[in-house]
């Protein structure tokens, strides 16, 4: 017998009194226990976007090349020519990773991969955007190590290359790390499939793993703040099985290729509940599920548990009765279940039967985003701290005495230091299409049977977004677009992962709304529509909320693989050029934080129109085949960017920069829309001619060569020495993990 339901039951499930009222009105009666479970997960922030959708709708979501728009399918899809589509999405797994880093991160990767192949696309790359507290903290090192192992073990076994991402370390993420995983896939247009259920009499099958008690209420867990009690939520964390996922991939793509199905959706958050209700609502049909038929791996599971389980590596497939045998045969070949658990019915009800009785009978549409799920516009209040930072007088900060020492320190700060220790634990070359792996501006995957390649980057400076949410979000989009462009790609679309604190706090909601607004402006300016993504609220530990962190995943198309450009200086004697003009802009910089221990100040300005021109200029230069290396300037400024160009081939450089601003601004300021690139001396005239069309400052600032990096009279350091600090910083922290 199921427990009886009252308001307290609803509140225990995280529903508000008004929401409980609404549910009883929709049903016209008191909900059953299974039903209250279903509503609680479907109306959780994680599934319903109830606190964010009003803002998200303001983002630019249209574009001529879009094949699947934000919210329409499991992931966005963009036409890239040759009958192919790129399918991509980013998603968070922050809360699970905070309590169980290995499985939390692993299942984050698993979930995003399913979102891609459930569309009919084969995953070709993953990226990770990660944020932790300071590595000085032993628990942070434990979380960091577990997350890296979890990501690696899952992706390595599944067989998808990791091509990049970003990792930041800031105190704001101490108790609540951010673990965002992005996946990119390629599909033929003709093989894109939909997450829809329709056609009365068609059959619903559960395929993949059996269902256990893991991950029950994972979606609800993701929709509350972390606290001392969170440790008790460990059972809400799912357990990953990348081997089964690999089999599920092959079997799913096989039934898709053979056109045996009506629709397919993965079971991520809220498991069977979410897939069945979303597919039915989309197809404007109903579904009857016989819950007793679901293959389970634990004894005496109740309908409530089965409906809410978030066991991994499962899909819901809807197909015509005549195709059942063939679908089953294919899954059997791959050693997986394919079991009929329900059928498509007239009307719009989601009916769950068990043991001859009915445990749920709900209008599917009432559960989902865009249907009956509530929509809230929360209170906003501009936080007072913003003014304090805006007014901060940079003149009160003296320039560092020894710029050589400052550069060494910056290169060894974990935010800037080499992440090789991390990405050497990821398979970066499986599938033999990785043209550029982690460590450059963007990861690059060539597209077989075409001349094209994809350039992908994830970006967000959370410190910026904390100091100025709107401008910080603009800069996140701008930086990701420029990362793609300096790699030779035209930015074509964005996926976003919006990581914020508790939306009921008006100051947090202000950060959220402002960030979305800034992101929208920038995406519109660069003509890169938002194709979907994920919102993660409640990222708070008992001490604080995380920095507002709207991560951008940008995808670009490289028209010809000969345009692929990396950051490394190629040989001595090349000319180094700078696009853009360095200004006195140190606010929010890594320099201010690392050298002066200050997180404050006005952010560097971003002029979106200028930035777009910078993107167009570097792309034209690259396409004219005179660019030998290119690098955008971001965290750590010009000096750090130059050092990073020196490292891969151990080639130094001599530079003469115009003075007239503070020396630390010159070297470490983070003025936007700047690019350094190299060319052979013979390219000078062509560069001048092309640059003249853009009305942007482009100047030769130096020459490559020698063992040292020399900038004016300010910097004179052996590249090898700088590189040792850059590469040694993170291993120095993490080797202590092994020792203790």
């Amino acid at each position: 017998m199921e427990p009886t339901v009252d308001l307290k039951t609803a509140k225990d499930h995280g529903l508000s009194e008004e929401e409980y009222q609404q549910i009883t009105e929709i049903l016209g009666r008191t909900p059953t226990f299974t039903e209250i479970g279903i509503y609680s997960v479907m109306w959780s922030e994680h599934c319903s976007y109830k606190n964010s959708i009003a803002q998200l709708k303001t983002l630019p979501r249209e574009g001529p090349a879009l094949l699947a728009k934000a919210g329409d399918e499991n992931a966005g899809a963009i036409d890239i020519g040759d009958g192919l589509a790129v399918v991509f999405k980013i998603e968070s797994h922050n809360h699970p990773s905070a309590v169980e880093p290995y499985q939390g991160a692993a299942t984050g990767v698993g979930g995003i991969l399913r979102d891609i192949f459930t569309m009919g696309a084969r995953p070709v790359a993953v990226l990770n955007s990660l944020r932790f507290g300071s590595l000085e903290n032993p628990r942070v090192r434990y979380l960091f190590d577990g997350v890296i192992r979890g990501i690696g073990d899952y992706g390595n076994c599944f067989g998808v290359p990791d091509i990049g991402g970003e990792i930041y370390f800031e105190d704001a993420y101490t108790g609540n790390p951010l673990v965002n995983a992005m996946a990119v896939g390629i599909a033929k247009h003709s093989e894109l499939v939909s997450a829809v259920s329709k056609g009365t009499g068609n059959v619903a099958l559960i395929v993949g793993s059996s269902t256990g008690r893991d991950g029950i209420h994972g979606a609800t867990f993701a929709s509350e703040e972390l606290s001392e009690k969170s440790e008790a939520r460990r059972p809400s964390v799912q357990i990953g099985d990348p081997f089964t996922e690999k089999l599920l991939l092959e079997a799913s793509l096989e039934i898709i290729r053979k056109k045996l199905l009506v629709g397919i959706q993965d079971m991520g958050a809220a498991g069977i509940t979410c897939s069945s209700s979303e597919m039915s609502a989309k197809g404007k049909s109903g579904m009857r599920i016989d819950i007793d038929k679901v293959p389970v791996r634990e004894e005496a599971m109740t309908p409530y548990e089965i409906m809410l389980s978030e066991s991994q590596e499962r899909m819901l497939v809807v197909c015509a009765p005549e195709n059942i045998a063939e679908v089953k045969k294919i899954f059997e070949k791959w050693g997986l279940h394919a079991v009929e658990i329900g059928s498509v019915i007239d009307g719009g009800q989601l009916i769950v039967n068990s043991n001859g009785g009915k445990v749920a009978d709900i209008p599917a549409d009432s559960l989902v985003l865009g249907g009956g799920a509530p929509v809230y516009i929360r209170q906003q209040k501009r936080p007072d701290y913003l003014d304090k930072h805006q007014k901060f007088n940079l003149m009160s900060v003296p320039a560092a005495g020894d710029m050589n020492e400052a550069l060494e320190k910056l290169l060894a700060s974990p935010n800037i230091a080499s992440k090789k220790w991390v990405y050497q634990q990821y398979d970066t070359s499986v599938r033999t299409s990785t043209a550029v792996g982690p460590g450059s501006s963007a990861g690059i995957i060539r597209i077989r049977k075409t001349d094209k390649a994809l350039a992908v980057s994830t970006d967000c400076n959370g410190r910026y977004c904390y100091l100025d949410p709107r401008q910080g979000a603009k800069i996140a989009v701008a930086e990701s677009a420029l990362n793609v462009a300096v790699s030779g790609g035209r930015p074509v679309g964005v996926t976003n992962c919006l990581n914020f604190g508790n939306p009921h706090d008006p100051e947090i909601y202000y950060q959220f709304a402002e960030s979305v607004a800034g992101m929208g402006e920038a995406c519109a300016a660069f003509e890169t529509p938002v194709t979907g993504g994920n919102v993660s609220f409640y990222n708070e530990d008992p001490e604080r909320a995380v920095y507002p962190t709207p991560v951008i995943g940008m995808v670009g198309v490289i028209e010809n693989t000969s345009h692929i450009t990396t950051i490394s200086f190629k040989e001595a004697g090349h000319h180094i050029y700078l696009i853009g003009q360095t200004k006195d802009e140190l606010g929010g910089s890594e320099y201010l934080k690392t050298i002066h221990n200050k997180v404050t100040g006005k952010l560097p300005l971003i002029n979106l129109e200028n930035h777009k021109k910078t993107i167009d200029l570097i792309l034209e230069l690259i396409r004219s085949k005179i660019v030998l290396s290119a690098q955008d300037i971001s965290d750590g400024g010009l000096a750090v960017a130059l050092a990073e160009c020196c490292f891969p081939n151990g080639i130094g450089a001599q530079l003469t920069l115009d003075v007239g601003i503070r020396p630390d601004s010159l070297l470490f300021g983070e003025t936007q829309s700047r690019v350094i690139f190299t060319a052979a001396p013979a390219g000078a005239i062509t560069i001048e001619n092309i640059a003249a069309k853009y009305d942007l400052p482009v100047q030769k600032i130096g020459t490559t060569g020698g063992p040292d990096l020399k900038i004016n009279e300010l910097i004179d350091m052996p590249v090898a020495k700088l590189r040792r600090g850059y590469e040694g910083a993170i291993p120095a922290y993490m080797e202590s993990v092994i020792k203790t």
Binding site: D153, C157, G159, F243, K246, Q424, Q425, S429, R431, T432
Partner: protein, 229 residues
């Protein structure tokens, strides 16, 4: 020339091996299903990389019991050519077609990076297109690649020229730093006594095109495809 690439559940470099052999003109490449016992009259069998059966136990320990492996063992015992790459090497060790065992990498972490291999013996069907002492760049990607065998076996391998590849630095010198996994004597690949079964941890199939950073792996692919028996 017919190449047969075995597909185990969890193989994930089968496709890469397929693409690499397809680069050689006139070569027929087929996949062989683990549950079958038909080798499709292949001239050369490739056991590819990946995580066969998930490798939740010791790597390769379940794959050796698969239906097709009985046929592969017969094929090898009859003198047929078999190359095992990464997980394929681990399966060859588990099957007893090659001596020794793999331990976890010495740093206990998965490692994926480019390594430099020195060709120690080119008088084999697998390395005839290379020269002795030639340096080949290609990636490794594994968690259990720390090759071990007892001292008697190692000395026999060394003395009989059955160590085919060694991890070295870019100058061709054996160093601890150049060894990605702690393998004894920096061994990266070995061959059986008869000279028809070779296993290697690095991935030649991932280094057959310049766009991937190296085409040195072609030395091995070409050796296999061009030699006539």
């Amino acid at each position: 020339m017919k190449i047969g690439i075995v597909v185990f559940p969890g193989s994930n470099c089968d496709y890469d091996a397929y693409q690499a052999f397809k680069l050689i003109e006139g070569v027929e490449v087929n996949y062989l299903w683990h549950g079958s016992d038909n080798l499709n009259s292949s001239d050369i069998i490739v056991l590819p990389g990946g995580f066969s059966y998930g490798d939740y136990l010791r790597s390769g320990s379940i794959a050796r019991f698969s239906r097709i492996m009985k046929k592969v063992v017969d094929f090898a015992n009859g003198g047929g050519y078999v190359i095992g790459i990464c997980n394929g090497f681990q399966i060859l060790l588990e099957s007893g077609l090659l001596p020794g065992a793999m331990m976890k990498n010495s740093n206990l972490r998965f490692v994926c990076r480019e390594v430099v291999l020195r060709v120690e013996n080119n008088n084999t069907r697998f390395t005839s297109a290379a020269s002795v002492g030639q340096l080949l760049r290609m990636p490794v990607a594994h968690g259990e690649g720390n090759y071990y065998a007892d001292p008697g076996v190692i000395s026999e391998l060394e003395l009989s020229g059955r160590v085919i590849f060694r991890y070295v630095n870019p100058d061709g010198v054996v160093t601890a730093q150049a060894n990605p996994n702690g393998s004894i004597n920096s061994i990266a690949g070995i061959i059986n006594e008869r000279g028809n079964v070779m296993g290697m941890m690095p991935h030649p199939e991932r280094a057959c095109e310049l766009i991937l950073g190296s085409a040195d792996g072609l030395n091995i692919v070409k050796s296999l495809c061009e030699t006539t028996t």
